[in-house]
Amino acid sequence: MAPDGDIGERLRALSGGSAVALRLDPHEYADHYFAALAATLRDLGPDSSSMTIYVSVTNPASLVWSLAQALDVTADRLWFVDAISHIMMNYRDPLPNATYIESPRMLEDMMLRVEYLLRKYPSPHPTVVIDSVNSLAIHNPPDLLSEFFHILLNNLKSRQVLTALLVVSDDTTSALDQMLALVVDETIDLGRRG
Protein backbone atom coordinates (compact mmCIF):
# COMPACT_ATOMS: atom_id res chain seq x y z
CA MET A 1 0.00 0.00 0.00
CA ALA A 2 1.36 3.42 -0.94
CA PRO A 3 1.77 6.13 1.70
CA ASP A 4 -1.10 8.60 2.09
CA GLY A 5 1.00 11.31 0.51
CA ASP A 6 0.54 9.51 -2.83
CA ILE A 7 -3.15 10.42 -2.90
CA GLY A 8 -2.28 14.07 -2.51
CA GLU A 9 0.28 13.68 -5.29
CA ARG A 10 -2.31 12.12 -7.60
CA LEU A 11 -4.75 14.89 -6.80
CA ARG A 12 -2.12 17.54 -7.48
CA ALA A 13 -1.41 15.93 -10.85
CA LEU A 14 -5.02 16.49 -11.91
CA SER A 15 -5.77 19.57 -13.94
CA GLY A 16 -7.94 22.35 -12.51
CA GLY A 17 -11.58 21.67 -13.21
CA SER A 18 -11.27 17.92 -12.69
CA ALA A 19 -13.75 15.97 -10.61
CA VAL A 20 -12.40 12.99 -8.74
CA ALA A 21 -14.13 10.33 -6.65
CA LEU A 22 -12.19 9.18 -3.60
CA ARG A 23 -13.47 5.71 -2.77
CA LEU A 24 -13.21 4.70 0.87
CA ASP A 25 -13.41 1.08 1.98
CA PRO A 26 -16.11 0.72 4.69
CA HIS A 27 -14.00 -1.91 6.48
CA GLU A 28 -11.15 0.57 6.87
CA TYR A 29 -13.32 3.63 7.03
CA ALA A 30 -11.52 5.50 9.82
CA ASP A 31 -8.08 5.11 8.21
CA HIS A 32 -9.34 5.94 4.75
CA TYR A 33 -11.36 8.90 5.93
CA PHE A 34 -8.31 10.35 7.68
CA ALA A 35 -6.19 9.67 4.59
CA ALA A 36 -8.74 11.46 2.41
CA LEU A 37 -8.75 14.45 4.75
CA ALA A 38 -4.94 14.52 4.78
CA ALA A 39 -4.86 14.42 0.99
CA THR A 40 -7.50 17.05 0.35
CA LEU A 41 -6.92 19.45 3.24
CA ARG A 42 -3.22 19.14 4.00
CA ASP A 43 -1.45 17.83 0.88
CA LEU A 44 -3.57 19.53 -1.75
CA GLY A 45 -4.31 22.75 0.05
CA PRO A 46 -4.65 25.08 1.68
CA ASP A 47 -1.27 26.49 0.78
CA SER A 48 -0.52 30.16 0.38
CA SER A 49 -2.54 30.54 -2.80
CA SER A 50 -5.34 28.00 -2.59
CA MET A 51 -8.64 27.71 -0.83
CA THR A 52 -10.58 24.61 0.11
CA ILE A 53 -14.33 24.52 0.60
CA TYR A 54 -15.36 21.46 2.56
CA VAL A 55 -19.02 20.53 2.17
CA SER A 56 -19.79 18.38 5.19
CA VAL A 57 -22.89 16.24 5.05
CA THR A 58 -21.60 13.21 6.96
CA ASN A 59 -19.99 14.80 10.03
CA PRO A 60 -20.49 18.25 11.52
CA ALA A 61 -17.90 20.82 10.44
CA SER A 62 -16.70 21.04 14.05
CA LEU A 63 -15.64 17.39 13.99
CA VAL A 64 -13.94 17.67 10.59
CA TRP A 65 -12.25 20.84 11.78
CA SER A 66 -10.82 19.09 14.84
CA LEU A 67 -9.44 16.35 12.59
CA ALA A 68 -8.03 18.98 10.24
CA GLN A 69 -6.29 20.68 13.17
CA ALA A 70 -4.69 17.35 14.07
CA LEU A 71 -3.25 17.46 10.55
CA ASP A 72 -1.87 20.98 11.23
CA VAL A 73 -4.27 22.55 8.74
CA THR A 74 -4.88 26.22 9.49
CA ALA A 75 -8.18 28.06 9.17
CA ASP A 76 -6.91 30.79 6.83
CA ARG A 77 -8.09 29.25 3.63
CA LEU A 78 -10.38 26.45 4.71
CA TRP A 79 -14.12 27.04 4.66
CA PHE A 80 -16.91 24.70 5.60
CA VAL A 81 -20.39 24.42 4.18
CA ASP A 82 -22.04 22.41 6.93
CA ALA A 83 -25.29 20.77 5.89
CA ILE A 84 -25.66 18.36 8.79
CA SER A 85 -25.32 20.22 12.11
CA HIS A 86 -28.76 21.83 11.92
CA ILE A 87 -30.57 18.59 11.21
CA MET A 88 -28.61 16.85 13.99
CA MET A 89 -29.65 19.67 16.36
CA ASN A 90 -25.93 20.22 16.90
CA TYR A 91 -25.64 23.89 16.13
CA ARG A 92 -24.56 25.36 19.45
CA ASP A 93 -21.05 26.61 18.73
CA PRO A 94 -20.82 27.61 15.09
CA LEU A 95 -17.32 27.81 13.63
CA PRO A 96 -16.21 31.19 12.34
CA ASN A 97 -15.01 29.56 9.13
CA ALA A 98 -18.27 27.71 8.46
CA THR A 99 -21.57 28.53 6.85
CA TYR A 100 -24.54 26.39 7.86
CA ILE A 101 -27.38 24.96 5.78
CA GLU A 102 -30.55 23.79 7.44
CA SER A 103 -30.74 20.40 5.80
CA PRO A 104 -28.83 18.12 3.41
CA ARG A 105 -31.95 18.25 1.22
CA MET A 106 -31.34 21.90 0.38
CA LEU A 107 -29.06 21.09 -2.53
CA GLU A 108 -29.46 24.45 -4.25
CA ASP A 109 -28.36 26.15 -1.03
CA MET A 110 -25.21 24.03 -1.11
CA MET A 111 -24.51 25.23 -4.65
CA LEU A 112 -25.16 28.83 -3.63
CA ARG A 113 -22.94 28.70 -0.53
CA VAL A 114 -20.09 27.22 -2.56
CA GLU A 115 -20.65 29.97 -5.14
CA TYR A 116 -20.68 32.57 -2.38
CA LEU A 117 -17.37 31.40 -0.91
CA LEU A 118 -15.71 31.15 -4.33
CA ARG A 119 -16.73 34.73 -5.11
CA LYS A 120 -15.96 36.17 -1.71
CA TYR A 121 -12.54 34.55 -1.40
CA PRO A 122 -11.16 34.31 -4.92
CA SER A 123 -8.26 31.89 -5.17
CA PRO A 124 -6.22 30.70 -8.15
CA HIS A 125 -6.50 26.99 -7.33
CA PRO A 126 -9.64 26.35 -5.30
CA THR A 127 -10.73 22.88 -4.24
CA VAL A 128 -14.19 21.70 -3.23
CA VAL A 129 -14.54 18.53 -1.16
CA ILE A 130 -17.94 16.89 -0.83
CA ASP A 131 -18.25 14.55 2.14
CA SER A 132 -20.00 12.45 1.10
CA VAL A 133 -21.98 11.18 -1.87
CA ASN A 134 -23.46 8.44 0.33
CA SER A 135 -24.77 10.88 2.92
CA LEU A 136 -26.34 13.03 0.23
CA ALA A 137 -27.98 9.90 -1.19
CA ILE A 138 -29.61 9.15 2.18
CA HIS A 139 -31.46 12.48 2.10
CA ASN A 140 -32.14 12.97 -1.61
CA PRO A 141 -33.76 10.90 -4.35
CA PRO A 142 -31.39 9.66 -7.11
CA ASP A 143 -32.83 11.86 -9.90
CA LEU A 144 -32.42 14.99 -7.83
CA LEU A 145 -28.91 14.03 -6.79
CA SER A 146 -27.88 13.32 -10.39
CA GLU A 147 -29.16 16.73 -11.45
CA PHE A 148 -27.35 18.36 -8.51
CA PHE A 149 -24.00 16.76 -9.31
CA HIS A 150 -24.36 17.39 -13.02
CA ILE A 151 -24.98 21.12 -12.52
CA LEU A 152 -22.55 21.64 -9.64
CA LEU A 153 -19.63 19.77 -11.19
CA ASN A 154 -20.08 21.39 -14.60
CA ASN A 155 -20.16 24.78 -12.95
CA LEU A 156 -17.03 24.05 -10.93
CA LYS A 157 -15.29 22.57 -13.97
CA SER A 158 -15.91 25.74 -15.96
CA ARG A 159 -14.30 27.72 -13.14
CA GLN A 160 -11.26 25.45 -12.95
CA VAL A 161 -12.17 24.20 -9.48
CA LEU A 162 -10.87 20.76 -8.50
CA THR A 163 -13.67 18.77 -6.89
CA ALA A 164 -13.19 15.69 -4.72
CA LEU A 165 -16.20 13.53 -3.90
CA LEU A 166 -15.86 11.15 -0.98
CA VAL A 167 -17.65 7.86 -1.63
CA VAL A 168 -17.90 4.87 0.69
CA SER A 169 -17.62 1.79 -1.53
CA ASP A 170 -20.03 -1.14 -1.10
CA ASP A 171 -22.47 1.36 0.29
CA THR A 172 -23.68 2.69 -3.04
CA THR A 173 -26.45 1.59 -5.35
CA SER A 174 -25.78 0.77 -8.98
CA ALA A 175 -27.71 3.93 -9.94
CA LEU A 176 -25.37 6.01 -7.80
CA ASP A 177 -22.30 4.30 -9.28
CA GLN A 178 -23.60 4.95 -12.80
CA MET A 179 -24.20 8.58 -11.96
CA LEU A 180 -20.69 8.92 -10.51
CA ALA A 181 -19.18 7.33 -13.60
CA LEU A 182 -20.87 10.02 -15.67
CA VAL A 183 -19.80 13.01 -13.62
CA VAL A 184 -16.25 12.29 -12.40
CA ASP A 185 -13.08 12.32 -14.47
CA GLU A 186 -11.12 9.96 -12.26
CA THR A 187 -11.59 7.58 -9.38
CA ILE A 188 -8.99 6.98 -6.70
CA ASP A 189 -9.70 3.84 -4.71
CA LEU A 190 -8.14 4.19 -1.29
CA GLY A 191 -8.47 0.46 -0.72
CA ARG A 192 -6.26 -0.27 -3.71
CA ARG A 193 -3.39 2.06 -3.20
CA GLY A 194 0.11 1.14 -4.28
Binding site: L107, D109, L112, E115, Y116, R119, E147
Partner: protein
Amino acid sequence: MADGALPGGPASEPPGERCPSGIEALDNILGGGFPRGHLVLVAGSVGTGKTTLTLEFLVRGAERGERSLFLSVTEASSKLRQNLSTFEFFRPELVSSGRLVFVDIPVVYEKLGLDHEELTLEEIDLLIRAIQGLVTELKISRLVIDSLTSVCYRIRREERIRDFMLKLSQVLADLNCTTLLVSEIGQASGRFSLHGVEEAIVDGVILLGNTRRQGDIIRVLQIIKMRGTSHSRAQYVVELTPIGLLMAPHLKGGRQEGM
Protein backbone atom coordinates in the same frame (compact mmCIF):
# COMPACT_ATOMS: atom_id res chain seq x y z
CA MET B 1 -34.15 36.71 -37.28
CA ALA B 2 -30.78 37.53 -38.77
CA ASP B 3 -29.21 35.11 -41.25
CA GLY B 4 -27.63 32.17 -39.46
CA ALA B 5 -28.98 33.18 -36.06
CA LEU B 6 -30.21 30.37 -33.83
CA PRO B 7 -33.31 30.69 -31.68
CA GLY B 8 -32.16 31.45 -28.16
CA GLY B 9 -28.62 32.12 -29.33
CA PRO B 10 -26.90 35.44 -28.75
CA ALA B 11 -27.32 36.57 -32.36
CA SER B 12 -31.10 36.17 -32.09
CA GLU B 13 -31.35 39.01 -29.55
CA PRO B 14 -32.86 42.08 -31.14
CA PRO B 15 -30.67 45.15 -31.03
CA GLY B 16 -31.26 47.52 -28.16
CA GLU B 17 -29.32 48.88 -25.25
CA ARG B 18 -29.34 46.86 -22.06
CA CYS B 19 -29.42 48.06 -18.50
CA PRO B 20 -27.45 45.42 -16.55
CA SER B 21 -29.00 44.72 -13.17
CA GLY B 22 -25.49 43.99 -11.86
CA ILE B 23 -26.79 40.66 -10.58
CA GLU B 24 -24.66 38.38 -12.72
CA ALA B 25 -27.00 35.41 -12.97
CA LEU B 26 -30.03 37.61 -13.65
CA ASP B 27 -28.20 39.46 -16.40
CA ASN B 28 -27.18 36.12 -17.91
CA ILE B 29 -30.75 34.88 -18.16
CA LEU B 30 -31.92 38.25 -19.49
CA GLY B 31 -29.31 38.30 -22.22
CA GLY B 32 -27.31 41.15 -20.68
CA GLY B 33 -29.83 42.97 -18.52
CA PHE B 34 -33.17 44.76 -18.72
CA PRO B 35 -33.93 46.45 -22.02
CA ARG B 36 -33.05 50.10 -21.33
CA GLY B 37 -36.07 52.31 -20.63
CA HIS B 38 -38.41 49.40 -19.86
CA LEU B 39 -40.90 49.21 -17.01
CA VAL B 40 -40.59 45.96 -15.06
CA LEU B 41 -42.81 44.61 -12.30
CA VAL B 42 -41.00 42.80 -9.47
CA ALA B 43 -43.81 40.78 -7.93
CA GLY B 44 -43.82 38.60 -4.86
CA SER B 45 -45.28 37.93 -1.46
CA VAL B 46 -43.73 39.21 1.76
CA GLY B 47 -40.14 38.25 2.53
CA THR B 48 -39.26 37.03 -0.94
CA GLY B 49 -36.52 39.60 -1.59
CA LYS B 50 -38.28 42.18 -3.78
CA THR B 51 -36.86 45.24 -2.03
CA THR B 52 -33.39 43.69 -1.76
CA LEU B 53 -33.31 42.90 -5.48
CA THR B 54 -34.41 46.41 -6.43
CA LEU B 55 -31.94 48.01 -4.03
CA GLU B 56 -29.10 46.00 -5.53
CA PHE B 57 -30.21 47.09 -9.02
CA LEU B 58 -29.89 50.72 -7.93
CA VAL B 59 -26.61 50.36 -6.03
CA ARG B 60 -24.98 48.46 -8.92
CA GLY B 61 -26.22 51.16 -11.29
CA ALA B 62 -24.90 53.98 -9.11
CA GLU B 63 -21.55 52.14 -9.00
CA ARG B 64 -21.53 52.31 -12.81
CA GLY B 65 -22.13 56.05 -12.65
CA GLU B 66 -25.87 55.88 -13.44
CA ARG B 67 -28.02 58.10 -11.29
CA SER B 68 -30.49 55.98 -9.38
CA LEU B 69 -33.64 56.88 -7.47
CA PHE B 70 -35.62 54.90 -4.92
CA LEU B 71 -39.18 56.15 -4.38
CA SER B 72 -40.34 54.64 -1.14
CA VAL B 73 -44.00 54.40 -0.23
CA THR B 74 -44.10 51.82 2.50
CA GLU B 75 -40.80 52.09 4.36
CA ALA B 76 -39.00 55.21 5.57
CA SER B 77 -35.99 55.82 3.33
CA SER B 78 -33.78 56.36 6.40
CA LYS B 79 -34.42 52.74 7.36
CA LEU B 80 -33.74 51.57 3.80
CA ARG B 81 -30.42 53.42 3.75
CA GLN B 82 -29.44 51.58 6.94
CA ASN B 83 -30.23 48.27 5.22
CA LEU B 84 -27.79 49.15 2.45
CA SER B 85 -24.88 48.64 4.82
CA THR B 86 -25.58 44.88 4.67
CA PHE B 87 -24.33 44.99 1.08
CA GLU B 88 -20.54 44.62 1.13
CA PHE B 89 -20.36 46.42 -2.23
CA PHE B 90 -22.23 49.51 -1.01
CA ARG B 91 -20.23 52.69 -0.46
CA PRO B 92 -21.82 55.62 1.44
CA GLU B 93 -20.29 58.04 -1.15
CA LEU B 94 -22.91 56.78 -3.61
CA VAL B 95 -25.56 58.51 -1.48
CA SER B 96 -23.50 61.55 -0.48
CA SER B 97 -22.50 62.19 -4.10
CA GLY B 98 -26.14 62.11 -5.18
CA ARG B 99 -25.75 59.12 -7.47
CA LEU B 100 -28.14 57.15 -5.27
CA VAL B 101 -31.15 59.13 -4.09
CA PHE B 102 -34.00 58.16 -1.77
CA VAL B 103 -37.31 59.99 -1.72
CA ASP B 104 -40.33 59.16 0.43
CA ILE B 105 -43.51 59.30 -1.64
CA PRO B 106 -45.62 60.41 1.37
CA VAL B 107 -43.47 63.57 1.37
CA VAL B 108 -44.25 64.03 -2.34
CA TYR B 109 -48.00 63.54 -1.62
CA GLU B 110 -47.76 66.18 1.08
CA LYS B 111 -45.93 68.69 -1.13
CA LEU B 112 -48.49 68.19 -3.89
CA GLY B 113 -51.35 68.45 -1.43
CA LEU B 114 -52.65 65.00 -2.32
CA ASP B 115 -54.59 64.43 0.84
CA HIS B 116 -57.64 62.59 -0.51
CA GLU B 117 -57.84 58.95 0.37
CA GLU B 118 -58.68 58.19 -3.25
CA LEU B 119 -56.70 60.15 -5.83
CA THR B 120 -58.66 62.05 -8.46
CA LEU B 121 -57.68 62.06 -12.15
CA GLU B 122 -56.04 65.46 -11.71
CA GLU B 123 -54.13 64.26 -8.68
CA ILE B 124 -52.91 61.18 -10.58
CA ASP B 125 -51.60 63.50 -13.31
CA LEU B 126 -49.91 65.63 -10.65
CA LEU B 127 -48.21 62.55 -9.23
CA ILE B 128 -46.98 61.43 -12.66
CA ARG B 129 -45.64 64.92 -13.38
CA ALA B 130 -43.89 64.93 -10.00
CA ILE B 131 -42.17 61.62 -10.80
CA GLN B 132 -41.30 62.92 -14.26
CA GLY B 133 -39.87 66.08 -12.68
CA LEU B 134 -37.70 64.12 -10.25
CA VAL B 135 -36.35 61.84 -12.98
CA THR B 136 -35.61 64.80 -15.27
CA GLU B 137 -34.09 67.12 -12.67
CA LEU B 138 -31.92 64.47 -11.04
CA LYS B 139 -31.00 62.92 -14.44
CA ILE B 140 -32.17 59.54 -13.21
CA SER B 141 -31.61 56.51 -15.43
CA ARG B 142 -32.67 53.84 -12.88
CA LEU B 143 -35.84 54.13 -10.84
CA VAL B 144 -37.54 51.91 -8.27
CA ILE B 145 -41.03 52.49 -6.87
CA ASP B 146 -41.59 50.44 -3.74
CA SER B 147 -44.34 49.66 -3.88
CA LEU B 148 -46.61 50.16 -6.85
CA THR B 149 -49.25 48.31 -4.86
CA SER B 150 -49.35 51.06 -2.24
CA VAL B 151 -49.68 53.74 -4.93
CA CYS B 152 -52.48 51.79 -6.60
CA TYR B 153 -54.30 51.45 -3.26
CA ARG B 154 -54.87 55.20 -3.49
CA ILE B 155 -55.91 55.10 -7.13
CA ARG B 156 -58.32 52.22 -6.54
CA ARG B 157 -60.33 52.14 -9.75
CA GLU B 158 -59.04 49.79 -12.41
CA GLU B 159 -59.60 52.19 -15.29
CA ARG B 160 -57.62 54.86 -13.45
CA ILE B 161 -54.85 52.41 -12.63
CA ARG B 162 -54.67 51.51 -16.33
CA ASP B 163 -54.47 55.20 -17.21
CA PHE B 164 -51.81 55.83 -14.55
CA MET B 165 -49.72 52.87 -15.73
CA LEU B 166 -49.94 53.85 -19.41
CA LYS B 167 -48.92 57.45 -18.73
CA LEU B 168 -46.14 56.45 -16.32
CA SER B 169 -44.82 53.92 -18.82
CA GLN B 170 -44.80 56.52 -21.61
CA VAL B 171 -43.16 59.23 -19.53
CA LEU B 172 -40.37 56.95 -18.25
CA ALA B 173 -39.78 55.38 -21.67
CA ASP B 174 -39.37 58.87 -23.15
CA LEU B 175 -36.79 59.61 -20.47
CA ASN B 176 -35.07 56.26 -21.17
CA CYS B 177 -35.35 55.47 -17.46
CA THR B 178 -35.30 51.76 -16.60
CA THR B 179 -37.84 51.25 -13.84
CA LEU B 180 -38.60 48.46 -11.41
CA LEU B 181 -42.02 48.55 -9.77
CA VAL B 182 -42.43 46.46 -6.65
CA SER B 183 -45.72 44.57 -6.57
CA GLU B 184 -46.95 42.93 -3.39
CA ILE B 185 -49.04 39.86 -4.03
CA GLY B 186 -50.45 37.03 -1.94
CA GLN B 187 -48.88 33.57 -1.90
CA ALA B 188 -51.46 32.07 -4.25
CA SER B 189 -53.09 35.07 -5.85
CA GLY B 190 -52.62 33.77 -9.39
CA ARG B 191 -51.65 37.20 -10.64
CA PHE B 192 -48.71 39.53 -10.37
CA SER B 193 -50.31 42.78 -9.25
CA LEU B 194 -53.13 44.16 -7.15
CA HIS B 195 -55.67 44.48 -9.97
CA GLY B 196 -54.06 42.49 -12.77
CA VAL B 197 -54.08 45.61 -14.94
CA GLU B 198 -50.53 46.60 -14.03
CA GLU B 199 -48.91 43.40 -15.31
CA ALA B 200 -50.54 43.78 -18.71
CA ILE B 201 -49.04 47.21 -19.27
CA VAL B 202 -45.48 46.75 -18.02
CA ASP B 203 -42.74 45.44 -20.31
CA GLY B 204 -41.56 42.76 -17.94
CA VAL B 205 -42.56 40.72 -14.91
CA ILE B 206 -40.15 39.06 -12.47
CA LEU B 207 -41.82 36.77 -9.97
CA LEU B 208 -40.26 36.05 -6.58
CA GLY B 209 -41.82 33.46 -4.33
CA ASN B 210 -41.46 30.53 -2.02
CA THR B 211 -41.88 26.93 -2.98
CA ARG B 212 -41.65 23.77 -0.93
CA ARG B 213 -39.72 20.55 -1.31
CA GLN B 214 -40.30 17.86 1.32
CA GLY B 215 -41.45 20.56 3.73
CA ASP B 216 -38.43 22.83 3.22
CA ILE B 217 -39.14 26.33 1.94
CA ILE B 218 -37.10 27.42 -1.06
CA ARG B 219 -36.99 31.04 -2.31
CA VAL B 220 -37.35 31.15 -6.10
CA LEU B 221 -37.26 33.64 -8.97
CA GLN B 222 -38.74 33.35 -12.45
CA ILE B 223 -38.94 35.73 -15.40
CA ILE B 224 -42.58 35.68 -16.51
CA LYS B 225 -42.23 38.14 -19.35
CA MET B 226 -39.62 40.55 -20.69
CA ARG B 227 -40.49 42.25 -23.96
CA GLY B 228 -37.66 42.53 -26.44
CA THR B 229 -35.62 39.69 -25.01
CA SER B 230 -35.54 35.92 -25.41
CA HIS B 231 -35.16 35.26 -21.71
CA SER B 232 -34.99 32.05 -19.71
CA ARG B 233 -38.32 30.76 -18.43
CA ALA B 234 -36.80 28.42 -15.90
CA GLN B 235 -37.19 28.77 -12.16
CA TYR B 236 -34.14 29.68 -10.08
CA VAL B 237 -33.40 29.41 -6.39
CA VAL B 238 -32.15 32.69 -4.98
CA GLU B 239 -30.12 33.58 -1.93
CA LEU B 240 -29.68 37.10 -0.62
CA THR B 241 -26.08 37.43 0.49
CA PRO B 242 -23.80 40.31 1.55
CA ILE B 243 -22.14 40.13 -1.89
CA GLY B 244 -25.51 40.38 -3.61
CA LEU B 245 -28.23 38.14 -4.91
CA LEU B 246 -27.02 34.71 -6.02
CA MET B 247 -29.00 32.30 -8.16
CA ALA B 248 -28.87 28.58 -8.89
CA PRO B 249 -31.14 26.42 -11.06
CA HIS B 250 -34.11 25.01 -9.17
CA LEU B 251 -33.55 21.27 -9.22
CA LYS B 252 -36.48 19.20 -10.39
CA GLY B 253 -35.06 15.70 -10.24
CA GLY B 254 -37.20 14.50 -13.13
CA ARG B 255 -40.43 15.74 -11.55
CA GLN B 256 -43.15 16.78 -13.98
CA GLU B 257 -45.36 19.66 -12.97
CA GLY B 258 -48.77 20.49 -14.39
CA MET B 259 -49.35 23.84 -16.01
